[in-house]
Subunit: 224 residues, 2 copies
Amino acid sequence: MNPLLFDFMKKISYRHIGGKISLNTKEIAAELGMSQQSVSRDLIILEDEGYVVRKRVKRGEEVVLTDKAFREFRNELNIMQYILKSSEEIEIEGILFTGLGEGSYYISREGYVSRIRQILGFVPFPGTLNLRVSEGYEIYVPILNSINGFEVQPFEQEGRKFGGVKILKARLREENVGIVIPERTHYENVLEIISTEHLRAKYGLKDGDKIKVVIPKNQGTDNL
Amino acid sequence: MNPLLFDFMKKISYRHIGGKISLNTKEIAAELGMSQQSVSRDLIILEDEGYVVRKRVKRGEEVVLTDKAFREFRNELNIMQYILKSSEEIEIEGILFTGLGEGSYYISREGYVSRIRQILGFVPFPGTLNLRVSEGYEIYVPILNSINGFEVQPFEQEGRKFGGVKILKARLREENVGIVIPERTHYENVLEIISTEHLRAKYGLKDGDKIKVVIPKNQGTDNL
DNA sequence: ATTACTACGTTCCGAGTAG
DNA sequence: TCTACTCGGAACGTAGTAA
């Protein structure tokens, strides 16, 4: 957003009544803490760029902020809200797809089940939801690795070795779910989600559906 | 707010995980669309001003945005929200006080009563609420004059002349009220509020109480 | 490999003043 | 009176390069 406009809206727009601000450049300058000359120049630029419409009147002028100006201002506001929100949680969108079905085998191993129950407070449904991260959200995936989640130690069972994973608490629709992050994976824009119920059935989900998961950056501690 | 910080937060802070951003100046520069040198200089400045804390690591550095940075960012956001809101309505705070009691006489004159009923849809309680505008809100009062409210024409009754006034629709707590603006007043940081009930009784208001009124800038039309 | 100083071109700001 | 042009100085941005 044009910084001129930004300043102008922040410092002047409260005077915007019935669509107009009635002021002269000297007064505006005083309120903005800049010179009359700069205000004059900036108004010309803002007018050129379609952010204000001006009309000369007796002792000054009327300045009208255009819809474009308000639209961009609101957009800027939305971006800032998103940033503040994303300083606390990450939202990732993905497309549901069917994997190789390995998830359901692994997740049923006792070593995982008991630990997941300890972390998430529920026995995982024997099957995972695979999400292929949508375009534009890939940048958030590596960030998941940096979040302090809950470690599941490697273990052996039935003569097989099962690798360590990290579990992140997350929300999907109204469900508390977990995201399984394999230790030292070459991350591939796929999220594997565990839940206590069969979410495909509960929500009527099918391959190709767009799903969003929200992951708090502060995952709490592992001392329950 | 420091524009450097602003840009930095808007473009980089999504990487802020577990309190840290791990990047080198070249990468930051690429994301911000500026040179490595400028990023370096800006980080030094942001550090000096207490907005970031830096720690050199192997292949770059970790940048921590401080609470101060988030606080100012959030503050900026609040200001912007307020501006957007105040482009639609004005909120004025004032202190309740007891006037000379004239209001109750004037407002009971038939010429006013019928017109107020037409405008606000209720018969005014015979008495007004006087609000002395709080410090910091004075700037909004002259603006009220510019709002297209509802005119009450001057009239004569019982051999006396009653001047024209302008009525603005407003809200006070959950009540629809009116604000009486005398024609060509030398405005004095006092708002006179009319309502359908005795608000002092209904809300237990007493002199010295802080009250807020909200006045929409778009008052609608007078054709009901 | 990464940060940051120097030096210099460009942009921005505002006093003077014209219109 | 008010807006806006000119122009000199300050601030900003970055290539080159040192640390």
